[in-house]
Symmetry: C2
Subunit: 190 residues, 2 copies
């Protein structure tokens, strides 16, 4: 006999993350490296707190932080709770829209190249730029599966008007993954 | 000034859906067509209630309903709230695991061929079978974008041991999409 059906799916923005988001709320953070530094700090903190070593955040053109997400697959029992999925949904719910394009040219900053699922989510979100830290190969080196991506994913996003910028603080981003692997963190989706 | 950061992302299992799930809880529903009939009924009901014309459900090998989801993109302000994403997360949270494979050979029944994002989610979920009603072309005919899928997605899932069965009640499934389009429902992700 299974538990009752839940009335909703809940993906947490943990309280430590919420505190960091609130602290940034009155300031701006501009530039890919500056924004990536913030995201890598979240990825490292999340992995030290029992989540996966992945984070993502969404910024406005002016550098205001709209939302962030961290990987919650294991603690939330949700195989789809990747950082990008959580960040995109959190941004939509905070702004009250399913189409982030309607509020301006937003940027999704991802600590690692998004997996096949999260790449598929990027056009649905309405973000206009995607900024990536570690490469697919760095994630695979740490033992994570990135899934079956179309070969032309980057060109395809560009064809939709989504600007893709890669290798932003790649070394530091790959180090977050390597540290997680070295610490023996669980490799789900493996 | 934006609203406060939310403490979680919430994707609803609406009360009408919860009532149907509870009603099925003491019975079983076996066979692809029988399960698809249930899912198409949910897709039609969801579109009549202001959601997208898509539904998905997860069944055990014995035909017990584990969880279901409907498209909540517009009402939940969440571009990632596709039926499959909601159903997979609901199943994980109900069963208390991020890996559905750990509880048996589960089947994901989807009213329409999953989009690029949802196809990417299938291996992460741990389901062992994917049953599809309407084709990608049927969704595109109704105006929906299905995203950029790898050409070999079906073979790739098969290579992971995930059995893919297509065209299950395809005519009825395509009719749900066509009715939605004819009624002038919003085409998000367009």
């Amino acid at each position: 006999m299974m538990a009752h059906h839940p009335s909703r799916v809940a993906l947490a923005i943990p309280s430590w993350l919420n505190a960091r988001l609130a602290a940034l709320d009155q300031s701006v953070r501009t530039g890919d490296e500056n924004q990536m530094e913030f995201v890598l700090d979240l990825a490292g903190e999340n992995s030290r707190r029992g989540g996966g070593p992945f984070a993502a955040a969404i910024f406005t053109d002016a550098g205001e932080l709209v939302a962030a997400g961290v990987n919650r697959v294991v603690p939330d029992s949700a195989p789809i709770a990747h950082a990008e999925i959580v960040a995109i949904a959190a941004a939509g719910q905070r702004l009250g829209t399913w189409n982030l394009r309607s509020v301006g040219a937003l940027t999704l900053v991802s600590s690692t190249e998004p997996c096949a699922m999260c790449l598929g989510a990027v056009p649905w979100s309405g973000v206009r730029s995607l900024v990536i830290g570690a490469r697919d190969a760095d994630a695979r080196s740490a033992g994570f599966d990135e899934g079956n991506k179309p070969d032309d994913w980057s060109d395809h996003l560009a064809s939709l008007g989504i600007d893709v910028r890669v290798d932003v603080l790649r070394g530091a981003a790959a180090a977050v993954l390597a540290e997680y692997a070295a610490s023996g963190g669980p490799i789900y989706n493996g």
